[in-house]
Amino acid sequence: MSQNINTANHAIHAISAISWFTPTQHGSLCTASSALLNSSQSITQDTALKNWCKPSPDLNAPDQPASLLGQSVRYFQRMPAEARYALCAAGLAIHAADLNPVATTIGLLAGRFDGTLAANIAYFQDYLEAGRSLARGNMFVYTLPTSVLGSVSVVLNLRGPAFYLDHEQLPLQSLITHASYLISTRESQAMLILWSDASAAVCIAVGAMPDHARDQRTHQMLMDLFNHDNDDAGNPPSPSALAHRLQQQVTHS
């Protein structure tokens, strides 16, 4: 049975948008009832909708990620898959939540180790196969749990705190709670929570939002999602599974 997160419910109230990127689908949900539709920073006309999902572009294509994010990204093709997906999901979430990184201090949290482990293995095997005397610096920099956050903060100009935080039993809920705390202490004005690995990325935007600005239906859906997100073994959903669930919500809404 899934574990409940009543203690974190107050924090869920602050979720303003959630976006995801997988090799097949990407999309966004927004809990704000009007903010996005008034946005002057739409990435593309297609994504200027409140809740949406659509097939993902090939990130190896020459026009990517510029056509998706509205900006070109140096060394994008050299980044590991997790960093590329995380970057796309974060860019979509910033847009969906109508955040302006220049005017707002935005921080980052992450809490999944799978992508880090994959990067660790790839880096060290490459080093061994190269004769065990010279490693690749560009692979080494992606071996930390916060490496992906570093990439995202540099590309998207996010100047708030950047932590990897993994709760023993309730990692996703704990991230949301901590994001809310960092906002309440004014260390950051908004937070992005990245739930990512080498197969998919989900990004949850957390920020202060008054009750009257919240779309109650979408908000209730997110509450249900996070209150019952663990599997029978108590494990939180993988990024792919969470993205799939979000996609279903958009399709059915």
């Binding site: 201090t105 921080g107 980052l108 180790f113 482990l117 660790n120 293995i121 880096y123 060290f124 095997q125 080093y127 061994l128 196969e129 065990r132 005397s133 010279l134 490693a135 690749r136 610096g137 080494f140 920099v141 071996t143 930390l144 749990p145 916060t146 490496s147 956050l149 570093g150 990439s151 903060s153 540099v154 998207l156 100009n157 996010l158 100047r159 708030g160 705190p161 950047a162 932590f163 990897y164 935080l165 993994d166 709760h167 023993e168 704990s174 901590h178 705390y181 202490t185 004014r186 260390e187």
Partner: protein
């Protein structure tokens, strides 16, 4: 009445040995613990210097991190409230498990691809710091909340900040912070590839510094709530150290190079000072990250200079014990705590000719601070790391807030 976060107890191990006393003594005598290492095939690298914990016994199926932590934490077993939350701070943790799995796989692939042993993912997955966290809880008999916190070389500072926040919010009365990182071929090869290693023992803030020296360390700290009632007549000269402010930021400028102007670090320090209701200029000294890389030290000096109207003592411990990665923050914070208690700022080991911007604040000699009984003495401790992260903590020791 204000609930404050207080440093209640701690222990640590560095290349100087077990406990704070060898570390304090080593720093103050100016002797570096950085020396040629034989821990792995370091001779294959152009540089083979590191600061390692002496005589560490590591079973073949274990890790250096666990060998340090098991010995450090053993006296705490079953002494804490079982519900005490614990936060583990590390960058790569028990990375030996990835090394072992990769070496077994690649080594066996020397014949043909078909004969190659399958990669042992289960072995490599033991490097997940959550597994180490579980082992720590079992050793100590803890059953409460537990987290892994990582923020590159600012990991333990971030963990201490979180612990202090849990205490001051009233969510816990005690929080245990555990931090560790060990010397590994994995990390050594990476820093060598980035040309970050110094050919001589690291010399932070020196005009001729060329890079960092890697080290290893482990530490724990118990942070407790301290309901404090203001008493202007309390003139005790020794008193507990409190964690009164913390802040963090990202440079958003480069993955491995710092913002040259130190803007991100300035924001972290300012945020911490705002929380602590103080100004940077109130600090008696800075416990700096001071890795001894040319760019990182220059960034820190730029930030400190920008925030301080007049020079203030600054020290780094990395010339003595090397860069201990995820344990760097807690180690230097405990040195700062000790310095506040003793009214002495330790010297920066390895310093010969201070950088132009460090001439009036960094010293290779201990600096005795004047004793004031009128107001608390403050220290600022800072860390920065890969991805452009910055953290700052304000320590307060003495009377009043």
């Amino acid at each position: 009445m204000t609930v404050r976060a207080r440093i209640h107890a701690f222990d640590l191990v560095t290349a100087y040995g077990w406990g704070i006393d060898p570390l304090w003594r080593g720093l103050n005598t100016g002797q570096t613990a950085i020396a040629p290492t034989k821990q792995f095939a370091a001779a294959d690298f152009a540089i083979n210097l590191a600061a390692t914990v002496p005589d560490l016994q590591v079973p073949a199926d274990s890790s250096r991190v666990w060998a340090m932590l098991r010995r450090l934490l053993a006296p705490l077993a079953n002494t804490l409230d079982p519900q005490t939350p614990v936060i583990l701070a590390t960058t790569v943790g028990e990375i030996e498990f990835v090394e072992k799995a990769a070496i077994a796989h690649v080594g066996s692939a020397a014949t043909t691809q078909a004969d190659a042993a399958a990669f042992d993912h289960a072995l490599a997955a033991n490097a997940n710091p959550k597994i180490l966290l579980g082992r720590i809880k079992n050793l100590l008999g803890l059953q409460g909340n537990a987290w892994v916190m990582s923020s590159a070389c600012a990991s333990s500072t971030a963990a201490i900040s979180m612990a202090a926040s849990l205490v001051t919010q009233g969510k816990a009365t005690n929080v245990l912070v555990v931090a560790a990182d060990a010397l590994s071929e994995f990390v050594y090869a990476g820093f060598a590839a980035l040309s970050s290693l110094s050919e001589t023992p690291a010399s932070p803030f020196d005009a001729n510094r060329t890079g960092l020296s890697l080290g290893e360390a482990a530490a724990w700290m118990l942070i407790t709530s301290d309901p404090y009632i203001e008493n202007p007549h309390d003139n005790k000269t020794t008193s507990p150290t409190y964690i009164t402010g913390w802040g963090s930021s990202s440079d958003a400028s480069h993955m491995t190079a710092p913002d040259p102007a130190g803007g991100g670090l300035c924001r972290a320090i300012s945020s911490a000072c705002t929380m602590a209701h103080c100004l940077p200029s109130d600090a008696a000294f800075f416990a700096a990250h001071g890795t001894a890389t040319p760019y990182s030290d220059a960034m820190e000096l730029a930030a400190i200079t920008a925030l301080m109207p007049k020079p203030c003592p600054v020290f780094s411990i990395k010339g003595g014990i090397g860069h201990t990665l995820g344990a760097a923050g807690i180690t230097q914070l405990l040195v700062a705590h000790h310095a506040l208690q003793l009214h002495i700022v330790p010297p920066t080991v390895g310093l010969t000719t201070p950088d132009t911007n460090a001439q009036h604040c960094v010293s290779n000699q201990p600096i005795v601070l004047p004793v004031s009984q009128q107001k608390p003495r403050l220290a600022i401790t800072t860390n920065s790391g890969f991805g452009g992260v910055n953290t700052a903590i304000i320590l307060s020791n003495g009377v009043g807030r």
